[in-house]
Amino acid sequence: MNDTLIKELNDRSIGWVKGYRESGFERFSRLNIPSWKRLNLNGLDLPEYKGYDRLQVTGDGIDVENIMDCGMEEDIREIMQDGQAFGVDEKFVSMVDSFFNTGVVIRVPKGYNSSVPVMVHYPSDGDLILDQNVIIAEPFTSVSIIIDHEAISEAGAFHNGITRVIAKEGSKVNLMKVQRLSDTSFNFDSVIGITGRDAAINWSVVELGSAKSAVSYTTYMNEQGGENNTKGIFFVDDRRRLDLSFKVNHIAPNTTSDIDIRGALKDEAYSIFRGDLDIKRGAKKAKGNEKESVILLDRTVRSDAIPALKCAEDDVEAGHAASCEELDKNTLYYMMSRGLSLDEARMMLVEASFNPIIDAIPDDGLKNAIREVIKRRLTCGEDY
């Protein structure tokens, strides 16, 4: 990924996108790949640039365009050049800004109100996926969108993506992101959401695959009455690592947020959970809550939690809780008294922890597929 490539991509780009890629590349070439103490990216080689053409989209009554050949109106430029801090790391964000090879622009038109999800599917057969996604919900609309990164082969993928969500006044965006890339893949995902007045953005996060995965969600609630609810599940096994980060900025009064993350770790897996609840001066009557619980299935796992709670207002309600504990002895005994082995009982309790979140997935096919992946990973190596 170099300036020759940028020129080449620029030749194919239209309008303001040319300059956009260039300024992205300026940042990209100035920065080093971060080493990251916990996830540890030492020795990470960036892949050769390749195009990506497997994008599949389904959605009714809604305008979904491929970012590589859409008009890129002025408001999209504003959104993409907004300049608010977000993302896993500036190196990775600028990589997508300069080299994005796929992505969607979704406009939720006035009057749209549907719970049938728009599906954005990025299958991977060892692909390079640098997706740049923009979602704009017009005032008082309601939409559900699922973005799914799925392995269709064991080949190692390199995914680095950006998703920007603008929820205008009174709108509601439910965005689910599913990551089920192959176990040798690298995954970097930077998501930013901005809520308008009385608008809601709900994140659902399902993290299942990749050797190393760094995922970051940032929300800015700039207008009063904004809402941001996050539900997430993760399952990490083998020697894989996941760094999952949520940053919620309460800027305007009466904004509320809630984060509920449940995870399970097996083998020599390592997960890092970061929850950053930042209540700025002026965010009166803000309410923020955050909860993470991890089930540890093997002695050799490692679980870090870095839950920050920052508060510069007095009239607020904010709380954090993190726990990791052994499964309850009495519950295990009860289940085993019905014939389940210790492992089966433990597995079932992991599923139990995940179920409320999986049950809420608006697409049955995906719901079952996710259940299958979790089941397979849970039972892998266990004699059933």
Binding site: T300, A305, K310, D314, H320, S323, C324, E325
Partner: protein
Amino acid sequence: MAKTVINDIDFSRYNIKAKVKYRHKTAKGLTPEIVEEISYLKGEPDWMREFRLKSLEIYNSKPMPTWGVDLSELNIDEIVAYISPDAEKAKTWDDVPKDIKETFDRLGIPEAEKEYLAGVGAQFDSEVIYHNIKEQLEKQGVIFEDFDTALKKYPDIIREYFMKCVPPTDHKFAALHGAIWSGGSFVYVPKGVKVETPLQAYFRMNAPGTGQFEHTLIIVDEGAEAHYIEGCSAPQYSVSNLHAGCVELYVKKGAKLRYSTIENWSKNTYNLNTKRALVDEGASMIWVSGSFGSKKTMLYPSSVLRGEGATSEYTSVTFAAKGQHLDTGAKMIHLAPNTSSKVVAKSLSKDGGITNFRGLLRVGPKATGVKTTVQCEGLMLDDISRSDTLPIIEIQNDYVDMGYEAKVGKISEDKIYYLMSRGLSEDEAKALIVKGFVEPISGSLPLEYAVELNRLINIEMEGSIG
């Protein structure tokens, strides 16, 4: 009720500026010459002089911390590292020079000693001016000495333990301490001896633009018990003072140590202190900490639970008012099986004050069967202050019961309403709720210190009580 206590506040007792004759005062700043001068004045053995010089090198090689509080206004070159009052170390208060004694009288130290302490050490700027222990304890083999005396009387023990728990390589201010430490106490409690009443050290910074770098080393031998109380204060100056003490605690098998601190440095002081305990099998380490003073504080008492079944508790209240940024917290490092820890941290912020709780909870791969809880609670007294809670939790095996909880908010209107319906004014109601909020801390201090803590809270609440 609350009203009468509030009217009694006398902040002036902390703000006495004694006119004292000084014997030695080094030049401002930090050079090998100044370090050699301190060592020479103290008549130290070669190894200590070399240790100081080596620490200075480490200090110079380490960058300033980029996290925590803003240290950009702290200029070490403007600080006088060593300033000793013209006084011999005394064993009776009558032998302490009058103006110095007056300071400690106003702080109530000699009176407290008579009534309920097992021993007292009092440091005035860089040197200890008074050190005494009850005879009966001395007979049981308890050692309580100022650090310079200890270095002369027990050179082997000091050499074995000094800055082994907190090495100068640990961070920049540990290195600074290693180079220019002066004063402090050494405590040894022999096997099985239980010291029922507390030992106290009081640290007083009197001169403007100086630093205090006292060293505290406590060894509680197998099955022994002790309670150590540390108090500190300084009068208010316009130039910065620096406090960079170091506390090293060894709690041996089955021993118990309680370490209580009431810190009330003046609001021109940088308090960059390091405290750490190594806790052996079945031993117990309890930290009780009240932080009220200083301009900026970075202080994270640590317990390294390295013996099976070791336990530690940390209970703290941090109160940041106008112009203060207090960054405190606890580190609990679980290295052995069946160890347990409990952290209860409460903070209050008002008039633009900033409190940070910064904690580390680490459970190592071998530390199975660990039980640990961390609870942080921040109370915001107005909308211009800040309260941040920033813990790091690292769990490295599956047999761990960990619970973490944090919350932040303001005084509940309902509670104020309830108390006012019983006849209290709004300010009285608030003061009462704040006292209730810090009860877990005041409740774990000896009565006299709980009174002191309440007095400090009253002073801090004064603005809102009017």
